[in-house]
């Protein structure tokens, strides 16, 4: 099957050099990246670990035509089509893939910058190029984190939260994918419709190594592909005006630890960035477990940064809406942009790529006797590695080959981690439904 897509508005002409960069070629890493991201966005709604095997005869090519570039698809997944026509939202995602892969590769030969300022500028540059920095908007972007594999009741709850946010004119940003990343957008879309908000934003921030596992739902109407998880996390916190954390697994824990590590930095003491943990009544125990872990490891100061508000969708939305005024006042007071939090201080430790291989994992300093922000950074890396071992291609392969990652540290901390991770496993938060979870890590007490 062969499909030829006419370019949609918003897809500019490409230069001849750019087209040639994305030309099919067996040994071009850029083409491989392009193809796998393209396949991921086409395969929406069909969560599967075997994506690349299933569509081994898939191909994508760019063809120059008089009105711009046509996209040729060979044997694409059928889920992207209705009566033979591609779903427009999915084609937009394809175009975002082209846009970001070309931009990131042509502007930045490497994204492993030495300089912290360079990282922050590059992320800004990528977001701006994707047209997601809208300078005239007031603060209204709510980042929602949470598991891609959550229970039906939890999922409905995320929709209800989204609905209440949407009714209040707030916009949603998530990491794409199913579960807690899709529910808030779906709910917000309904709230926006009732309020006749036609330009509601459903911003998805993703990265090449996870896009296959967390394909953006077509509701996502702004999609950006950041180079790696560290840039993606920084993008989240710099565009966020508030953050809601739903129940989730290792990925959600990674996000929470990253966030706490930054907010605990004394330089960020005055920052206004409301953090709410919420879920249905059933999830109260879950949040208590998280809160306990945070307090035990990062201290009461960290615990106090979290507003735990279970089972109160309207109250959560109202709280966040109210906080937008404080966010605005703070940004004004320091002369910072509404749409990109330049003044938030992020230490290099949180910016540099962490390669979750066996050696790096086993050498993480997981002891309580270190500064809290340093500990948060290390814990973040530990959970990041677990996510990789669970669902990122390279990580999965490494674990298959060499066995589980070893995490080692002092007894108290190791017990805490073990307990938390076991809870995730028991609650089915580590993998997509239907599969039995085989831990990719092993905990050692030093």
């Amino acid at each position: 099957m062969r499909v030829l897509l006419n370019p949609l508005d918003g897809m500019n002409l490409l230069s001849q050099t750019e087209v040639s960069k994305l030309q099919k070629s067996s040994n071009s890493p850029l083409y491989a990246l392009f193809k796998s991201c393209a396949l991921a966005v086409l395969n929406v709604g069909n969560e599967s670990d075997e994506l690349y095997n299933e569509y081994s005869d898939f191909e994508i090519n760019l063809l120059s035509r008089e009105r711009g570039i046509k996209i040729e698809l060979i044997n694409p997944p059928q889920a992207a089509f209705v009566d033979g026509e591609i779903i427009t939202g999915i084609q937009e995602h394809l175009q975002s893939v082209i846009r970001d892969i070309l931009f990131n590769s042509s502007k930045y030969e490497t994204t492993d910058f030495n300089d912290s300022v360079e990282v922050t500028n590059a992320i800004f540059d990528i977001l701006r190029h994707a047209n997601v920095i809208l300078p005239t908007d007031l603060p209204n972007l709510v980042v929602c984190w949470g598991g891609h594999s959550i229970k039906e009741k939890e999922y409905r709850y995320t929709k209800e939260i989204g609905y209440q946010l949407g009714l209040r004119g707030l916009n949603i940003c998530t990491g794409c994918g199913p579960g807690a990343m899709k529910g808030p957008m779906k709910g917000a879309a309904l709230g926006h419709a009732k309020q006749r908000i036609k330009n509601g934003r459903y911003l998805g921030l993703t990265e090449p190594s996870i896009i296959a596992a967390e394909a953006p739902n077509p509701i996502v109407n702004e999609l950006v592909i950041l180079p790696d998880i560290e840039k993606r996390l920084e993008a989240f916190v710099r565009v966020a005006h508030a953050i809601i954390i739903f129940p989730g697994g290792a990925g959600t824990a990674e996000e929470l630890l990253y966030l706490l590590g930054i907010m605990l930095n004394p330089k960020n003491k005055l920052q206004v960035l409301p953090i709410v943990l919420t879920g249905p009544a059933e999830s109260i125990a879950y949040f208590e477990e998280i809160a306990e872990f945070v307090e035990a490891t990062l201290g009461k100061e960290a615990r106090d940064l979290l507003n735990i508000m279970p089972d109160k969708p309207a109250a959560v939305a109202q709280f966040i809406k109210d906080q937008m005024v404080n966010v605005r006042d703070f940004r004004k007071s320091v002369g910072d942009a509404y749409q990109y939090n330049w003044t938030l201080n992020i230490e290099p430790d949180f910016q540099h790529s962490f390669d979750p291989n066996h050696e790096n994992m086993s050498q993480l300093n997981l002891n309580l006797d270190q500064p809290k922000t340093r500990l948060a950074a290390n814990l973040r890396k530990a959970f990041s590695g677990i996510v990789a071992g669970n669902i990122k291609e390279q990580g999965v392969l490494a674990v298959k080959e060499k066995g589980p990652f070893i995490l080692q540290g002092d007894e108290t901390l190791m017990h805490r981690m073990d307990k938390l991770l076991m809870a995730f496993v028991e609650q089915g938060r580590m993998k997509l439904p239907g599969s039995k979870y085989e831990p990719c890590y092993k905990i050692n007490i030093l």
Copy 2:
């Protein structure tokens, strides 16, 4: 509680004469009508038979201001508000109420026209004034009929149908209200979002005597209030490019009989207007019952007009999408407008207001030995009366006072009707959930 609404775009300045017409006044029937319709649209989501008692201290006033008319609400239902702000979609409905009540009353002193052409022109005039006639659009408007009180599975099915229609760029028109009138719109909104269709249409056609029981959901983004059920039914069939009938009760039966009565008219033999009956797998028996009733009373020709396609959302949507080409071709071939079917022949019998009082109901000719179109017209009136006795204010009061309506006719037909109505009752289709149904009719065999 007192709220003052700034006029939204689309609400033009009113003349001083117009404002004075809608001024609060104890003995103005126009103000009473205005107030009750306004209350109905404000009370969305809160289905209740006791609306007017609950909000006995509600008032609405228009105030002239330098940028147009402000709407003052005294003690409005809280469901219309989020954190003290009215939901925009609901305010739009309020403005539609003002628009249509003023227009209908000032342009047409009476709408009980003698002349058939006048009726058709007046309906066109009302729809055009409400900006719902969009001459440049191709045929794409799917009228969905069905019960306001349906089962959860049926409701989800109507959403799925709407989703599949929306993915195909089709728009939805219903009679407003909950159940089968809301589901298709909600589904279509999601389909439109994925296709990035920003001007999706969710057209609600209602009438003053039923708006309280079937308050328009805020998703309805075009609302028109026709003077009575006959004008409303004519509006449905003249704007429809296809009609889907979901499971429902007496109202749905009225609509189906009205439609068949018209389509059986030999003058409409060449008309292209696809009719699909659909529902979840569970509803197969229901549709068989309907089909049997139709065939037994109006004949095989009538039965053959119905495409019964249970449990096939994508196939239904694809069928209707395909039919749009035929609708277009037919309209072109006769030089008729895409957006208003002028050439559809509607006999005066279907146009004149039927007053469902006890006398008129008992005198309906409900015998099989009459022309099929005449029989359809009479059956339509019988079901219309039952709807009135069930949920329209005047009908409910009449039944309370004088007992059930008497329907009388020949044995075969009466048995058929009895069987069908009993099925509706058993399936809980006659009233809102939670209440026990007390029949408003009695069947007599002559």
Copy 3:
């Protein structure tokens, strides 16, 4: 030659009754009116008194088609076309003609209302139906009056004034036609372009009896046809936020006297409506003449209402821009609409149609010993008659048949009028350039 026009956006479907009203028919006065107005807007740029003779084989018909009404033109003037395609602005004017003729004729059987309130409501209704009442705009509409036959220097000056107004975001309303009615629009269009104002308004208010002589220039992007000169004058002063009067002839004098008659009414004492008389340096003498006439006839109070500011385009525009705040404050203070001055008091004497026949003209009370507003009303009628005798079809025919109109009154006033009119004649302001003026009036001293 036969041309078929596809309907433009903004031309709604017409009902079958409406189409039949405008059907070609030898004895339908409505068709005759329609045809002559249509011919006038098509004949733009080609000022000629012989319009109807030149295009005696012109015809216009409406044809129903599936996407609305097509307009068929037989032998239309070529000036309306570029390479065989009608100029879009001209087609919009055609559509305005259809819209207003249908609306005025179907909503108001007669427009000679007894009641003053009815007149004011009807004018509002016509303007609103033409979508020229924009409630959300702040005061910014400058009515420009002046001759259709002015000198090149005066014309350039009107363009410069328009440019300065446009640079300040102000919009223009004139009586259509050439000269001082076109210049300000052309200038404002350039000013708007430099300010990137895409929705600049060039509103033309006309009437059937003069549209042939003052065909709207295609820059006019909102055209309304009022029933007669009295309704048109009332429309001008109710939509105006300021009025600029350029040099002109009898028509301009009529407008000025109408305006002064209203502003002298004690009930309008608090009204804020800036009036500026301006022109190039050469026109100083002209304005002094006008001022002298006004002071001598209507008194110093009237004279003081006029701001005479020759040769100062930027200062005039700045003055008017500054005054907009006062207009806004006044409207707010009395709760009146920004876009239609409801509180301006206009006496019936200024509202009723004056039929300028020989008898009516000779019986006008043109004596100084009457109240000033009454005198202004009578002087207005006298000049209105002269305009009719000069260029309106009926007036021209009457004068041809029965000789000049007789105007009679006391000596002082008659001398004043004679002097003013002679000045108009000498300055070539009474007729289009190139023709010799034959006075249509005679002045008698009683």
Copy 4:
């Protein structure tokens, strides 16, 4: 005087790195460039050679604010303001200056590429970044070249041509500045207004070294600053769908020779790019002179590429409109983009920067015995140097210091050049009106 400008739509947030690049600094060449370009666009309508002396206390700064960047102006020229508010079109130009200077400097450290493909890609990249590549538009962009110092009659003629082009929906691209670069835009704006074309394009392509002498008129609604004259000329011919050449001086000759040099290239034999030379009746002699020079130097083939159509505005516009179909067909046939002519072959000789210093000028090979395309390239450089000596800052200084440039070559060619240049001088085409021309060149016969 200090003015603070709020960012307009279309001005995105800048990164902190970018803002710091444009920070005021006495020794930053980028700031100097930025300031001089900014001053040029602010000084519109005030053509003067003494710009930088007059505004020696002018400063421009960028300030980061919560809704993006504010632009601070110290002592700006008053011509850019109306009642203290900057003209929006001029602010857009300022923002274009910021956009292009940042983009050109950050993406391309040098623009003196070795590789021809790189040049063509970089120009595309700059134009695309400025949003002037609109892939969905059909061919409709008419490049107009001609003198900035032309006679009143010629100027009016350029307006008339623009008007006729605008009536036909064609868009205009010029080199900015007054005279033949402004007239067509002004005319087209009127034509577009009559056709209700709201997105008419008035594209100005300029370069830092000439922007002061040819400040973009505020009608220009898309402004791009290319790095140098060679990139600018290439941009012209790659975006053009047709080229009109009005009377002009050395700059116009440069443009014509550049164009002919490219079109004579055998690889461009099949290219469809209509070239029209036109002007009022008075300019017939002028065009004959040009044609004669072209034929005598570049041969009959070159002469035949020129369509000389004096005094026929409507015919010219109609001819060009008709040619658009051929342009479209050609682009389609070779699979080339409508909006950027990739297949046009431009030899490196036409792409590399020519530095018009005394040595380079005197060493130009100006002899007839060389290939025509080579000769055209050299003649182009000769005229380019004369333009520099006339109005570009560096050239003017060099001539002031070292005396006129020496041009030397064989007798026939030198006589031809002398004759042509003398004609330009006599016709006042070499300098702005009011000044006496002092030749910046001397012709030597070898």
